[in-house]
């Protein structure tokens, strides 16, 4: 079988629909199939990325024989490929983690979980890979619906409320994006992103601006920009732990990807980058400040996530090559580290009803492995050497310095101090307080530990030797900024 | 070998000189105070008799080796300071180690003795001693400030830190520092009042309050050594002041006259004053004396 990017979409989608069928054969297959799929996706990621990097090409995949710009095409470039590889790898690790998660959940629930899980992966990967804007919207919807359902997975009141808020705001997002696409179509007459990129410069600036605003707000909701991110804290808190990891690591990255693709590739409005920096700074500052006042662990992590995404937006907003490099590096780091934080945090507050931070007092002695990993994640996300987070923070600051944005540097560093305060407060409670809470602890199962350990190793190794991955990211950055290359690669396929 | 022998003899001679003069001054003080209080008072050589008596007493107890060493520290400080202070402005008599040290060294050496004594007093465990020590040290913070200010003013104005250098410069410019920088002089005199621990700054020894403070547990040979050290030290301080402010003395007679004149200032001032409390003493030094010291510094800077 020839390996092609279509597998990324086809396999998970098929798996999602076939899981219930396989489930009738053997209950365990339900848990197993997603793992196999993700493992395969990670495998092909390696192959395709090698191909793309060594041959310096972009793989364009045509669907259903209709060549662009009339048909839908998938674009596997260094940038999109990098993101998709990240998603596959992270998805696989999280699958390992969820294999025995909450074994007391009954079969019907498990089946639904994995179906939705596969749909979520399909949607997120689809958003990144597609070259057609309406297709992007469709995949976004798939992702969104799976996400809504997974948020409410535990069928409790709080989960339902969170899912409802997500649904409400998310629908808003979908509406705005759809509207924008429609107006765009009337203006340029095509849905293919490469062709849109070609035709946009000739658009009426007024229409261009309005469409861009609609996209900005719509994707901004998905990218957790302030003030559109009201849904985030509740959702991340109420969703099951591994799902929170998926949201933070995969879903929001897809949202950011869409926003960035629109701004960098499709449109040519440079001024919006300034707005991106401003909104990113506000997002970051507000989120971190609130995170400091949180008393519940997952909610604190949620706000921290928003803050990091704000930083990513700032980095993209600065717009220079180094800044984009830093932004992609940060996305990678954040996915891995936040993923690990959510995974370990889930076990730390497993039996706690309210999931308060005060339940963590003294847990360091009872769950040394998990607590240690959480501590590692905290140190990494704050940006301390010798962990991976240090490098991404450094690169962003350097990029800002080169652009002479001193105020930006100052704000980022002040916020970093705040981050240190609240993460270290948690660490302090974990290790140095007496355990007075009577909540039971849950030792994670072997596969969960294994999954978290892999993520931790990645963090440490990249921290000590970032060159392993900086080459890839460098290519990804170059690729993103090279609009002409994108247009040419896609449309030249069509010409043939 | 010969020179070393001569040096040591010279040192011993200096010590004897300082001892004699110091004791006599002490006696003179007692006489003066007595006369002011309308008494006859002890004879001027009374201190010598006291010292001999103390040394001939048997000291039967001690509280430990640091207490034993306390007076030794005191006398080491006095004699070492003596070695480094120019007694006469010229000639080889009594010149000792004049050229090996400077004013800053001397200021620190003077503290060595009091700290050593404080340690000795500490081991005795007598709370009176401890109270005396704490008061003494606190007061020292007080009077050191104007003293140091005036010394720094001098060093700045003379552009040297060595005392022999200061004496030379005063000889060259044919005027005493007392008049070249009167503010520094005034500040130093006020500080001197504190340094001598006579009233009104005698709360350290307050006989009726803390049973003589740090020396409460010292008797016999210890007290004798302390008296010796005290008299030598008084001589050192006076000579230092004379050297620095009054151009030094070219012969012994001139030295005696100048130091005695200077000595009468704290004695006379003390005899008519009651006692300051410690915090009053400290803050007293930080007001007018420090003010004069500051003026002295500014004066020196612009001279």
């Amino acid at each position: 079988m020839v390996i092609s990017p279509v597998h990324y979409i086809a396999l998970p989608l098929m798996a999602a629909f076939l899981i219930p069928l396989f489930g009738k054969l053997n209950k365990n297959l339900v848990r197993l199939i997603p793992g196999l799929v993700l493992l395969y996706l990670s495998y092909i990621s390696v192959i395709l990325m090698t191909q793309v990097i060594t041959k310096d090409t972009t793989i364009i995949e045509i669907i259903a024989g209709w060549s662009p710009p009339w048909g839908i095409n998938l674009v596997f470039s260094p940038f999109t490929g990098f993101l998709v590889s990240l998603f596959s790898f992270l998805g696989f690790i999280i699958w390992i983690y969820t294999y025995n998660f909450k074994p007391e959940v009954d079969y019907a629930q498990t089946q639904k979980f994995y179906v939705l899980f596969m749909m979520l992966i399909t949607g997120a990967i689809g958003v990144v890979l597609t070259g057609d804007i309406f297709n992007l919207f469709v995949f976004l919807e798939i992702t969104a619906i799976s996400a809504y359902s997974l948020t409410a997975f535990y069928r409790e009141r709080d989960g339902a409320e969170a899912a409802f808020k997500y649904l409400l705001i998310g629908s808003f997002a979908s509406f705005l994006i759809l509207l924008a696409i429609l107006i765009l179509y009337t203006q340029v007459g095509t849905l293919n992103m490469a062709e849109i990129a070609q035709r946009v410069p000739d658009m009426n600036p007024y229409m261009k601006g309005v469409i861009l605003i609609l996209f900005f707000v719509g994707f901004g909701i998905e990218a957790e920009m302030f003030p559109l991110n009201g849904w985030v804290p509740d959702v991340y808190t109420q969703a099951p732990g591994p799902i929170g990891a998926i949201f933070a690591g995969i879903v929001v990255k897809a949202g950011v990807y869409a926003l960035i693709r629109i701004i960098f590739t499709l449109f040519d409005v440079v001024e919006v980058l300034q707005l991106l920096v401003v909104m990113g700074l506000i997002t970051m500052a507000v989120a971190e400040v609130i995170a400091m006042r949180q008393g519940r662990l997952k909610r604190m992590l949620a706000y921290s996530s928003i803050g990091q995404m704000g930083l990513v937006l700032v980095a993209f907003g600065i717009g220079t090559h180094e800044a984009v490099f830093a932004a992609i590096f940060l996305m990678f780091n954040h996915a891995i580290i936040k993923g690990m934080l959510f995974l370990s945090a889930t076990y730390l507050v497993y039996h706690s009803k309210e999931k308060n931070i005060s339940d963590l007092d003294g847990i360091g002695k009872l769950m040394p492995f998990t607590a240690f990993l959480f501590a590692l994640g905290s140190l990494a996300i704050v940006g301390l050497p010798p962990f991976a987070g240090f490098w991404s923070k450094l690169y962003i600051l350097m990029a800002a310095a080169d652009a002479r944005l001193i105020a930006v540097i100052a704000i980022i560093l002040v916020v970093s101090v705040i981050e240190i305060v609240y993460y270290f407060r948690v660490l302090h409670r974990i290790y140095f307080k007496e355990r007075i809470s009577t909540v039971e602890i849950k030792i994670p199962s072997f596969n969960a530990k294994f999954a978290m350990l892999i993520l931790a190793l990645v963090i440490v190794i990249i921290g000590v030797y970032p060159d392993l991955i900086s080459g890839l990211i460098e290519r990804a950055a170059t690729d993103l900024l090279d609009k002409q290359h994108y247009i040419q690669s896609v449309l030249s396929v069509g010409r043939n | 070998m010969n020179t070393i022998l001569i040096e040591i003899l010279g040192a011993i001679a200096t010590i004897l000189l300082a001892f004699t003069v110091g004791m006599l001054y002490g006696g003179a003080r007692r006489k003066v105070i007595a006369r002011i209080q309308n008494r006859v008072g002890p004879p001027i050589y009374q201190n010598f008799i006291d010292v001999v008596k103390l040394y001939s007493k048997e000291t039967s107890i001690h509280h430990g080796w640091i207490q034993h060493m306390g007076p030794v520290f005191a006398i080491t400080a006095s004699i070492t300071s003596l070695m480094f202070v120019p007694i006469l402005t010229s000639g080889n008599w009594f010149s000792n180690l004049n050229f090996s040290g400077d004013l800053i060294f001397l200021i620190y050496m003077m503290v060595f003795g009091s700290l050593g004594m404080a340690l000795g007093a500490g081991q005795t465990g007598n709370p009176n001693s401890a109270i005396g020590v704490s008061r003494g040290l606190s007061q020292m913070v007080g009077y050191e400030i104007p003293f140091v200010m005036s010394m720094v003013a001098l060093m700045t104005q003379f552009h040297t830190t060595s005392i022999t250098g200061m004496i030379e410069l005063q000889a060259q410019s044919e005027s005493w520092m007392m008049f070249s920088n009167p503010f520094a002089f005034i500040a130093a005199i006020m500080a001197m009042l504190g340094m001598f621990h006579y009233a009104p700054f005698d709360i350290v020894h307050a006989p009726a309050e803390v049973a003589s403070g740090p020396v409460s547990e010292f008797g016999g040979k210890y007290l004798g050594m302390m008296m010796t050290s005290g008299s030598i030290f008084a001589f050192v301080k006076l000579t230092l002041f004379v050297d620095v402010f009054m151009g030094g003395a070219s012969n012994l007679i001139e030295l005696v006259i100048k130091t005695f004149a200077l000595y009468m200032i704290p004695v006379l001032y003390g005899v008519i004053n009651p006692r300051y409390r410690t915090e009053q003493a400290i803050t007293y030094f930080w007001k007018w004396p420090a003010f004069f010291g500051l003026i002295g510094l500014v004066w020196a800077a612009f001279y």
Partner: protein, 616 residues
């Protein structure tokens, strides 16, 4: 393999191994850490001055190698590291989490060596951060009130570190290289405003570790709350990292025309010295007293450096070396008392001199050195400092230093009297002398203090080489270190240390002989209960101890200065921030419809007012 790498691997590897070792073979832990440190010392002292390491990582060019300045401080780190580790083996006996303790201890030492061998700013920052969090982990190791202590330390360290980072990225964006030599040569090409900003940011970063006002508030609790063996290293070596940084910045980054920065820094340090000394005087806990004293001494060092003259810088560096020596000894002594007696509260512990005589001697020598009294080493440093300040017309600074030094006598006496002298209490009748592993480091360091008093040459020689790196020409002739026993200042005045020592020792011995021999046979020792008390007979149960409110009169005299601590300002500021954050938090009210309204409002806002961002 490059000896730099060997040293780092030994230390960092040793750290991780000791953590693991503690889980499996705790018995071997003590010997293991001492051996590791011996190995590191061996490699360090046998290092060739020209050894360098250049490599690329993450797209940056890093360079490692010991400059003479780094080597000087490296000596302090290695020697102190070894001695404090030796001391720890006895001091930490019986405490738990030893593996964690030693791991972070070794990490700190390794990070310090890394900082000193960094010739580029990225490595410097990298190791600086490692030093920060490893020392943080020990600061919060034990004791009560750990949150405040740890939090303050972490916040200030973070502020300092991030100021440094900001300066580093700005420098890089202008100069294009992180290498220190490139930066030192090209810094003057940058605009003056940026130069100033970079210098100030770096000084904030280094100032935190040096505990200069106003970023000193973490120090008293951190020093007092950590285990004493670590505090000896913390105050002795770690604070010197800040001094090292200051030296680099003040002499290489701040152009000589910019005397204003030097003056400001010197005055800040002077105020720190005076106020910290005053606070030290009124303490009742020996650990806190030493902590404040450390802050004050660091102030002297910075004044020396900031004076900018040859003698001043030499004084500052000399005091830095000596401070490491005597402060470590003092913390070790207090730790010894803590271990043998159980408390360091000076209102409770007294009269230990006969029970712990060697500890007392070590403390005595260190205190004399601290106070700067001749003939010990501290006087040399103080003398040079005063001379430097006077000859460079900094009269008022001299007064401040004198004021602080004189007040230092107070707490110097207090710590001796508080723990060793005074009344002997029956509950301490069975206290034993500290174990050998604790005594040896203290006595070795005391010997160094004594030796440095007459022959300061052996310290001054490496200092001179370090000063060459900082840009000062050598002014002392090339003579052997043991010949260097005369101190000069720029006006030609001198102090002959040998004569001082001869005079002091001579008189002391004669006097001691005299007073001992006289009446020797009939003297007997009596306890401290047998004292003169104006006729009353003191019963064994009477309490004659005077330890409370020892300096109450002094405290009353200076109370206006002590009224408001900077710490209070920070606490108020922190509370204000928390209130602000709470207010911001209400934005996320939990009401889904409100969130939807935010979206609408933002959309409308952009449509109306955001046109310039969207190209129309």
């Amino acid at each position: 393999m490059n000896s730099l790498i060997i040293i780092l691997i030994l230390v960092f590897g040793g750290a991780i191994i000791s953590f693991v070792l503690n889980k499996f073979l705790p018995i071997l832990l003590n010997s293991f850490v001492v051996l590791i440190m011996l190995a590191v010392s061996y490699f360090f002292f046998s290092i060739d001055a020209a050894v360098q390491l250049n490599f690329e990582i993450g797209g940056f060019h890093l360079q490692w190698g010991f400059t003479s300045a780094g080597y000087l401080f490296g000596i302090i780190v290695v020697v102190l590291g070894f001695l404090t580790l030796l001391y720890s083996t006895a001091y930490m006996n019986g405490k738990d989490n030893l593996g964690y303790f030693y791991m972070n201890f070794l990490f700190s030492i390794g990070a310090m060596l890394g900082i000193l061998m960094s010739r580029d700013l990225i490595s410097l920052f990298f190791f600086w951060e490692i030093m920060t969090w490893s020392s943080y982990l020990i600061v919060i190791y034990s004791g009560k009130d750990v949150d405040r202590r740890g939090l303050k330390y972490m916040i200030f360290s973070a502020i300092g570190a991030y100021s440094m980072l900001m300066a580093i990225v700005i420098v890089y964006s202008f100069i294009g290289s992180f290498l220190l030599e490139d930066i030192f040569t090209s810094i003057y090409a940058i605009g003056f405003g940026y130069q100033l900003a970079i210098a100030i940011l770096l000084m904030i970063g280094f100032g935190v570790k040096t505990a200069i006002m106003p970023v000193h508030v973490w120090a008293p609790e951190a020093y007092a709350g950590s285990p004493m063996s670590f505090t000896a290293l913390f105050s002795g070596a770690l604070s010197k990292m800040g001094v090292f940084g200051f030296a680099l910045v003040l002499f290489n980054l701040v152009s000589t025309q910019n005397w204003l920065i030097n003056e400001v820094v010197a005055w800040l340090a002077a105020i720190t010295a005076v106020l910290a000394t005053f606070y030290a005087v009124i303490q009742t806990d020996a650990k806190k007293l030493l902590a404040y004293s450390s802050i004050a001494q660091l102030g002297y060092i910075i004044i020396g450096l900031a004076s900018g003259t040859y003698l001043g810088v030499m004084a500052g560096l000399f005091l830095a070396v000596l401070h490491a020596v005597f402060k470590a000894t003092l913390f070790m002594a207090v730790g010894a008392v803590e271990r043998q007696v159980g408390t360091t509260d000076m209102t409770k512990v007294t009269g230990l001199i006969r029970r712990m005589p060697l500890t007392f001697i070590a403390t005595l020598i260190s205190i004399i050195t601290l106070a700067g009294i001749p003939p010990l080493g501290g006087f040399v440093g103080k003398w040079m400092l005063y001379e430097a300040l006077i000859t460079s017309d900094h009269y008022y600074l001299v007064i401040m230093v004198f004021l602080s030094s004189t007040a230092a006598f107070l707490y110097s006496y207090r710590i001796l009297f508080g723990m060793f002298l005074g009344q002997e209490e029956p509950e301490y009748a069975n206290v034993k002398e500290a174990p050998l592993a604790m005594l040896i480091p203290m006595l070795v360091l005391s010997a160094i203090s004594v030796f440095a008093g007459t022959f300061p040459g052996f310290i001054i020689e490496p200092i001179q080489k370090a000063m060459l790196v900082l840009g000062f020409e050598n002014r002392i002739p090339n003579i052997e270190w043991y010949q260097l026993s005369v101190l000069f200042n720029s006006w030609g005045d001198k102090v002959v240390l040998q004569n001082i020592m001869i005079s002091v020792m001579g008189v002391f011995l004669v006097g001691l002989a005299f007073i001992t021999i006289k009446g020797y046979k009939n003297q007997r020792y009596v306890s401290t209960k047998d004292i003169s008390s104006s006729g009353e007979v003191i019963q064994p149960e009477d309490n004659m101890t005077f330890q409370m409110d020892f300096y109450k009169p002094f405290e009353r005299a200076i109370w206006p200065l002590l009224k408001r601590k900077i710490d209070d300002y920070y606490t108020d500021f922190g509370k204000g921030l928390e209130a602000l954050f709470d207010f911001i938090r209400r934005f996320y009210s939990g009401n889904g419809q409100l969130y939807a309204i935010y979206v609408m409002a933002f959309l409308v806002l952009l449509l109306i007012a955001g046109t310039k961002y969207f190209g129309f």
